[in-house]
Symmetry: C2
Subunit: 230 residues, 2 copies
């Protein structure tokens, strides 16, 4: 019968531990740079470079050059679906390393994605920003990045974020970042990162060193919802 082509070479691409680490790190849907991925994969930069080339060549990843950085992300939803399916099977087979019980919901709710906030809360925030006209998300302008409105600039300034400082940086202030697990966007970019660190310095949230969970205190979460009228 021989359905489809070469499923073996495709599978082999995921079959290397370093590459698998890279891919799972990218499942969150965020773009990561080559060096970040190197540390995720646990190998040197040279090795990572070769792996990334193979993954891009194999259609698994897409690259975006930004200054001297290269941002890698999963190429499409099918890749993400494949990885999920694979994780599904792997979980059945191997003795599960991490208990998937109570921690999973926390991860869905709020987690760190590179340097900004992801998860249900982040999606809610992003939608709220747009609904309130703080940000406009027009794919056809501003290189596809979301744009901070005047109203938004005032709002975040009042909140304690130094927007003027962010504007001086090369990095785009706003970036939307796709969360594969829910197929929804949340806010990345300079503003996204600044917001997360602001939450931390106010004591609303705390990031874990071991995993990517961001733990909000009860009052912290309430204050966040109140501040952004969610």
């Amino acid at each position: 019968m021989k359905l489809g082509p070469d499923i073996s070479s495709t599978a082999a691409l995921i079959g290397d531990p370093a590459r698998a680490n890279i891919l799972t790190a990218l499942i969150s849907g965020c773009a990561l740079t080559a060096t970040e991925l190197a540390s995720e994969a646990g190998v040197t930069k040279q090795t990572t470079s070769s792996h990334l080339a193979k993954l891009v060549d194999g259609g698994f990843l897409s690259v975006e050059k930004q200054g001297r950085h290269k941002y890698y992300r999963l190429a499409n939803h099918e890749i993400a679906a494949l990885l999920e399916s694979l994780a599904n099977v792997a979980a059945d087979i191997a003795p599960k390393r991490v208990r998937t019980g109570p921690k999973e919901p926390a991860l869905r709710k709020a987690r760190r994605c590179y340097d900004h906030l992801a998860g249900d809360i982040a999606v809610k925030m992003f939608d709220g920003f747009i609904a309130q006209g703080l940000i406009v998300n027009d794919r056809n302008s501003n290189q596809g990045f979301p744009t901070l409105t005047v109203k938004g600039t005032e709002f975040f300034d009042r909140f304690g974020i130094d927007i003027k400082n962010l504007k001086n940086q090369k990095r785009p202030i706003c970036r939307s970042c796709l969360d594969w697990s829910v197929r929804r966007h949340h806010l990345a970019g300079g503003l996204g990162a600044a917001l997360l660190s602001e939450f931390e310095s106010r004591g609303w949230a705390k990031r874990s060193a071991k995993n990517r969970i961001i733990e909000f205190s009860q009052t912290g979460e309430q204050k966040l919802l109140a501040a952004f009228l969610l």
Copy 2:
């Protein structure tokens, strides 16, 4: 984050060409013996033996010993789903080797599965046999195999199948075989094989040497439907 365990080793298991061939051969849901799989994989029996051991050990395949044969099949639906997902991605990436156009429907309709008939027609037949009380399919009796009823014995005898002869063989007369693509069962076992060869000797159907398609002549298909009141 490190979701789930070891997706790399799981993927690596599919990442070998020989093993991938074995798995795709088994996607039809039929059980195949080690030597049959060896020819599918294009490697020797020894090599196949080692691959099969790894696949069973990895939870991909389940084995069933029958006399001096060992029948291998995919362990569960998740494996099949994973393989489909993989084929999906692989098709996007590599230039598709086989044109998936006109031939596919023929394959869905009627194909060879080991030595018996599979595909839409086979599923229809199987359902018809049960509806007419020729076979009863009780998972809790007869070791889980379908059972040929008295009525069924008479019917197939009249049709020209030597049931007494089949009963003398070690091989179970009836076996249900799951077709992953439609998640439905069809008839395998001694009777399934005997029926297919009967169809061929009557000139109703013809098997292809190149692929697994079974081609029914127009009158052959009509006669089949009439004979089994489908």
